[in-house]
Amino acid sequence: MAQAAPLSPKAPARMKLVCPAGTPPALRVAVDNGADDVYLGFKDETNARNFAGLNFDDRSIRDGVDYAHRRGAQVLVALNTFPQPSTWRKWRAAVDRAADLGVDAIIVADAGLLAYASKTHPQLRLHLSVQGSATSHEAINFHHEHFGIRRAVLPRVLSVEQAEKAIQRTPVDIEVFGFGSLSIMVEGRCALSSYATGESPNTHGGCSPAKAIRWQQSPRGLESRLGGVLIDRFGEEDHPGYPTLCRGRFVVNGDTYYPFEEPTSLNTLELLPRLQAMGVKAIKIEGRQRSPVYVETVTRVWREALDDCAREPQRFRVKPAWQEALAGISEGRQCTLGAYHRPWK
């Protein structure tokens, strides 16, 4: 039997801006340009952007926390992969490290790890990662009741109406994705990458790992392969993109097209007044793998947009300059509302 929770509208409040930092310079530009929260990861598979040259050691986290706190920002550590069978204690050690380093919250997907964190570090604030695949208020409330999570990141699968219902029925603060690379599959529920390469976000903290990629010139054009599988083929007029599996061109019944999604970025700027009114507490920017220039641009634009929206939501308009700045750093130079806009599905 469904539990008919009362629909109690929450008072709209200023939404926090949550920005990515793959490196200390990115953290600093995020803070300098007005991020409320900056999220980052350790240099290993405990986070879902486990790429060479990215992420933080203990010293750079301490420095980053200090830098952020002096300027009124908070630091969140993503421990958002699933602890693997024989090395799962490493993830527990990572929780202990994050607690010792004085970070403001950790972002966790795995239920067992959440249980450990809530028991061992009851003072440490817990956020449920998007990789936790909590797509309804009941799934979110499960994590609240068992682990005391304070914030949950909604998977990018819900329409605005569905997200609003979830917000109305949970005591947990809700964070949604505002901008960045768009996940086509439900986060935490995709093994396409490991099917082709042996490594996936769930198991190794990365999708379509760089070491599995091959580019080669062929008589039919430039080819990108992932684990040997042909992902796409580009002509002179194309802009070759990173061969993420769900952005490839494949053949179905003789038609060659993008069966999953074109290379586009999620951009929800135009939805901001709606998201604010329905009680979203934080807007997440994707892109820990991106450069400090990306972080600087996107943070600056979104800070201004969120401030405008908080000040006068009725008069909020997306400025052409914002869109221009964001288009310059978008994947495929196109933007979409994704699942927030129902016909996308």
């Binding site: 602890p83 799962w88 997907a109 067992g112 995709c190 093994a191 996936s200 042909l230 494949f250």
Partner: protein, 317 residues
């Protein structure tokens, strides 16, 4: 292997992942009543728009199968988005007749503390800590995520709670991903809300190939599957040694009963690995794979797979 292990290894018919006409589904399960499987998972797990059968129909099928001596388990949906999805999940969870397989944390919440349930393959149980948590809430069986290797499963079992049953995906096209978007509708230039239920035209899904002709994936509505068929038939002894005591066989539109028979013989020790492979080959809709089991890319086949239609120019790592 010892005699006890042979006797206690169960075969389970996984939930039907495709959309078949009602009559085809009813006929399939009438036949299944006579197959040598121990457990049968029932219910719509992929898409809430598929309504050839209602929950009452699944329960009725379950009652017939239970009379035929099968252990019946009702599965909840892989992805819950809407209020209607939640109502359906609660109806399944509270069905009162059969044990339930939970496939998301909302379902776990609905089932926790109310008796035994199955922790389904989409709950992302990758370690003993998570398995212990679920066992504490009432899970008496867990189904390993398809990505988990033999060694991974063995490690979870070794450190996990005692007495819980371990089920592995032993045969079928691997459910690899789920989305809010329907890729069958997209192929037909339709939106999901107006999909015309076109996946009913593809009883084993819609084939997706690479541009150089490799059979790669299967579009099954909002679900994406492997084109290759994972088969653990040659490694049943390994599966037992790793702690697996239930083997899941995933329904396909043809030959499922014969596949069950091969696995039954293999589990009984009456078939060697090579013989099992030979008997399965003509029953499979595509080539075999078992890479995940060996800790490799899932698409690979440990014992000398020749991948189809791979061009000569390809540079393999």
């Amino acid at each position: 292997m010892n005699a006890t292990a042979m006797e206690t290894t169960k075969l389970a018919l996984g939930p039907l992942l495709y959309y078949w006409p009602r009559e085809a589904v009813l006929a399939f399960y009438r036949e299944a009543a006579g197959w040598p499987v121990d457990s049968v998972y029932l219910g719509e797990t992929v898409c809430s728009r598929r309504r050839e059968l209602k929950l009452a129909d699944w329960v009725a099928i379950g009652e017939d199968l239970a009379r035929a001596g099968k252990e019946v388990i009702l599965s909840t949906a892989e992805l819950i988005e809407s209020d209607a999805d939640l109502r359906t999940m609660h109806a399944v969870a509270g069905n009162g007749a059969f044990r339930v397989e939970a496939n998301d944390m909302a379902a776990v919440r609905a089932l926790a503390g109310k008796g035994p349930f199955v922790a389904g393959p989409f709950l992302n149980v990758y370690n003993a800590g998570t398995l212990s948590l679920l066992a504490g809430l009432g899970a008496t069986r867990w189904v390993a995520p398809v990505e988990l290797s033999r060694d991974g499963i063995a490690a979870v079992v070794a450190e996990g709670p005692p007495g819980i049953e371990t089920e592995v995906f032993a045969y079928g096209r691997l459910p690899l991903a789920v989305s809010a978007r329907c890729f069958t509708a997209r192929y037909n230039n339709l939106t999901k809300d107006h999909c015309e239920f076109r996946c009913i035209e593809h009883p084993d899904g819609l084939a997706l190939d690479t541009q150089d002709g490799e059979h790669f994936l299967i579009l099954n509505g909002v679900q994406t599957q492997s084109a290759s068929v994972q088969s653990l038939a040659p490694v049943i002894d390994e599966a037992r040694a790793a702690g697996a005591n239930v083997l899941r066989l995933s329904p396909q539109s043809r030959h499922t009963g014969e596949v069950v028979a091969v696995f039954r013989d293999a589990v009984a020790g009456a078939l060697g690995a090579a013989e099992a492979v030979a008997r399965l080959a003509p029953l499979m809709p595509a080539a075999a794979c078992d890479g995940y089991w060996h800790g490799k890319p899932g698409i690979e086949l440990e014992r000398g797979r020749v991948r189809e239609h791979v061009p000569e120019t390809e540079v393999r790592p």
